[in-house]
């Protein structure tokens, strides 16, 4: 008779995955044997471990289709959205290692505390300040408006914090807002309906702001939605520099 564990038969090809296990700041990688299926994502592998080997494994996901931005982890040392990262594309030397996202505190295992990430969005004034009320007519913005085009380039962010984990400046400067918050601030600098531009430029030009960026472009390299936070940050550097001359007059 064939031995069955879950959905396995005895001839299922297996592979080893190392997963970071951490509780109360005591962490280490642990190895698990999982099926080596031809078509599986890193999230599938993590879910398999939790469902068939150790139900206490903690991790985060929701949509499984690259929309919600909750499943990001370090995969073989690089930040990835795990629900859309195929194992076959990232295994190196038959090795798969999954850890919690870099530059964020770990709550447990693969689940990080995202609060510092989102608090920095607020600190960077990456928040819309309306200039009109519901009684005013709708603002007319044409698709070929240059500001609208600039905003569109930065807008498809899913808040996954992959860029935040890729950035060495975030690692070395706890105050740095990071690529995602600054990228969002840039899309709002290009929103002609926004009424908070001076406060925003002051925020992105402050100590934690855009001038910390060394243009290493790790954020661009890894952003799963192919956004370009370095471009956005360069835009903020220009606008804050211009504002400095305006304000000193």
């Amino acid at each position: 008779m064939m031995k069955r564990i879950g959905l396995l038969t005895s001839d299922t090809k297996m592979m080893t995955v190392s997963i970071w296990r951490e509780e109360e700041n005591d962490g280490r990688f642990e190895d698990y044997e999982v099926p080596a299926r031809e078509n599986q994502t890193v999230l599938d592998v993590v879910a398999y471990v939790q469902q068939h080997i150790d139900p206490t494994l903690s991790y985060r996901f929701a949509c499984r289709v690259g929309m919600c931005g909750s499943c990001a982890m370090m995969v073989n040392g690089a930040p990835r959205w795990t629900c859309r990262t195929h194992v076959s594309k990232v295994v190196t030397d038959e090795r798969l290692e999954v850890g919690p996202l870099r530059n964020l505190p770990v709550i447990k295992d693969l689940a990080t505390d995202m609060d510092p990430f989102f608090e920095k969005w607020v600190a960077a004034e990456a928040v819309f300040h309306p200039s009109a009320t519901r009684d005013d007519p709708m603002a007319a913005i044409t698709p070929d408006d240059p500001m609208r085009i600039a905003a569109s380039e930065a807008i498809e962010c899913i808040n996954c914090a992959v860029c935040y984990a890729a950035c060495d400046v975030v690692e070395n400067n706890p105050d740095y807002f990071g690529p995602a918050a600054l990228n969002r601030a840039w899309s709002l600098v290009n929103d002609s309906r926004d009424a908070g531009q001076d406060a925003r430029l002051a925020a992105v030009g402050s100590n934690g702001g855009c001038h910390n960026c060394h243009s290493q472009q790790g954020c661009v390299q890894y952003c799963p939605n192919e956004l370009n936070p370095t471009l956005s940050i360069a835009g903020l550097k220009r606008e804050t520099t211009k504002a400095m001359f305006r304000w000193s007059r």
Binding site: N76, D168, H214, Q217, Q221, T230, A234
Partner: protein, 113 residues
């Protein structure tokens, strides 16, 4: 080993910029001190300048010129990135900065030997 999240060319360009910047910062005080000897102790300067005939010193000078040139061109690349409209050719420009620096420092070396 360079950690995986850093293994892309523009991170290496950053590393080169920092190393060359720090190298220049270390070299410049020595350089200015040497120049000041022209006023304070010309004989000592002449003595020291004789060392520049040694091949090993010429190779070191090649290194210094390379550091200066790679920092100069790399710095211009970064300032263009920040202040000119975005170009999609970031990696090409970084490698051009290195190539130009190599050209400048090699022609210096060939003239020196």
């Amino acid at each position: 080993m360079i950690r995986p999240h850093r293994s892309h060319p523009l991170w290496v360009a950053f590393l080169l910029h920092r190393i060359s910047g720090l190298g220049l910062a270390l070299f410049l005080p020595v350089h200015f001190y040497m120049l000041s000897l022209a006023i304070t102790a010309p004989e000592r300067l002449d003595g020291l300048l004789r060392f520049t005939d040694l091949t090993i010193v010429k190779v070191a000078e090649f290194g210094l010129v390379f550091l200066l040139a790679v920092h100069l061109f790399g710095g211009l690349r970064l300032m263009a990135l920040e202040f000119l409209p975005w170009s999609p050719h970031q990696k090409t420009m970084a490698s051009m900065a290195v190539a130009l620096a190599f050209m400048v420092s090699t022609s210096f070396f060939l003239k020196a030997i």
